[in-house]
Symmetry: C2
Amino acid sequence: MITIILVQPQMGENIGATARVMANCGLTKLRLVAPRDGWPNKKAENMASGALSHLEPIQVYDDFEQAIADMHFVLASSARPRQMVKPVYTPEQSMDSFFERCQKNETCALAFGAERTGMVNEDIAACQGIVNVPTNPDFSSLNLATSVSILSYEWRQKFLDKNGRPEFDTGSANKESPKAKQKDVGEFIARLEGELEEKHFFRSEGLTPQIKQNIKNIFTRMDMTEQELKTFHGIISALLGHKRPKD
Amino acid sequence: MITIILVQPQMGENIGATARVMANCGLTKLRLVAPRDGWPNKKAENMASGALSHLEPIQVYDDFEQAIADMHFVLASSARPRQMVKPVYTPEQSMDSFFERCQKNETCALAFGAERTGMVNEDIAACQGIVNVPTNPDFSSLNLATSVSILSYEWRQKFLDKNGRPEFDTGSANKESPKAKQKDVGEFIARLEGELEEKHFFRSEGLTPQIKQNIKNIFTRMDMTEQELKTFHGIISALLGHKRPKD
């Protein structure tokens, strides 16, 4: 498993958010290099929402060199640095490389710089490569906790690729004609409920909210087309004994 | 393009973090349903770090029904709900579906619930399906900004799949024998610098830090094996005219 290293993190909230998303993604090894407000940190604990007990004890170092001394392979999360020749990985490529190396029992780490500066060049120079999240070039700078979230998620994705995903339900069936808008579906459901009320369909007051929710669910889940919605209106009218309007 | 909807967000920071990661990922349409602290919100603006000017004007609604009235297809980011039959999408599947629908000019939204409660069942019932981030079952609850980050990132990934990625450098070449540890590489670099200093290699004081950084870069980039590191030590010794120790 990879180790996450936060270098000179300024805000405890970001350490806490890091711990939380790490636990969400099954990562347990966190190192801090010279956290501005020291460690432990109350704001971090609050933000972690209980995640710290899912992690191994957090290790704190004075400088980056010490924090990576026992590592075989370290990548820096960073924008592409100028004037520095380093391999640049996409998030997915980085996880492929990490998994491959972890399987050979290499120790691997992923490092993140301070909120304001990101990884400084001197620390990047000590890394084997860079991971760059391919953001919008017009607004590329990621929040620290966001960077950690995205890369921890990619770790989790790769982990599930190798170890099997939980089964997922697939999406709804294909339809052809234009879809009905929520507003029209909502009006249909309201109409149906109104008609059912008139017919004393909802007998038990205690159960009524649950039954109404179930009805709402059935009709929103259908992902109806406009035509299907018209058909349903027609069905209700027919069932109520209304005459069909002439076309 | 999909619209992001935050339903009753409590903390301005999370609205700001949402705006920032949306801009990072090329998303521009944000709607808020009854934000606890109103809108505009100073904490949100600070956290957005300038992202708000990259978004369309944020739209605020009183309730979820109004916020989705003009939408054709809405997914809720949520854990799997009990007692409710809804299609459950992985993040990737959800983006496939969103892209397909957007191409047919269907209006699509992705909704997130409040920090404490997540999406409430009544609002989920109004959605066509659920997107579930496959987190660690032992610690599954995601921070709001983290959920938005992961799903915005998946949108961006799908966007780059369709529209072409920027070119990336690939990782370093394969090696066979065990990799050298950072500590040993660092010691080698320090030794080399020391030797070079003795030989007056660093003549211009102004350029020395840059040259040292380049040297550091060269040797860390090589991702050396233990054997290669030994070889380099040998090379330096040889160049210095030291005798080779007997094996």
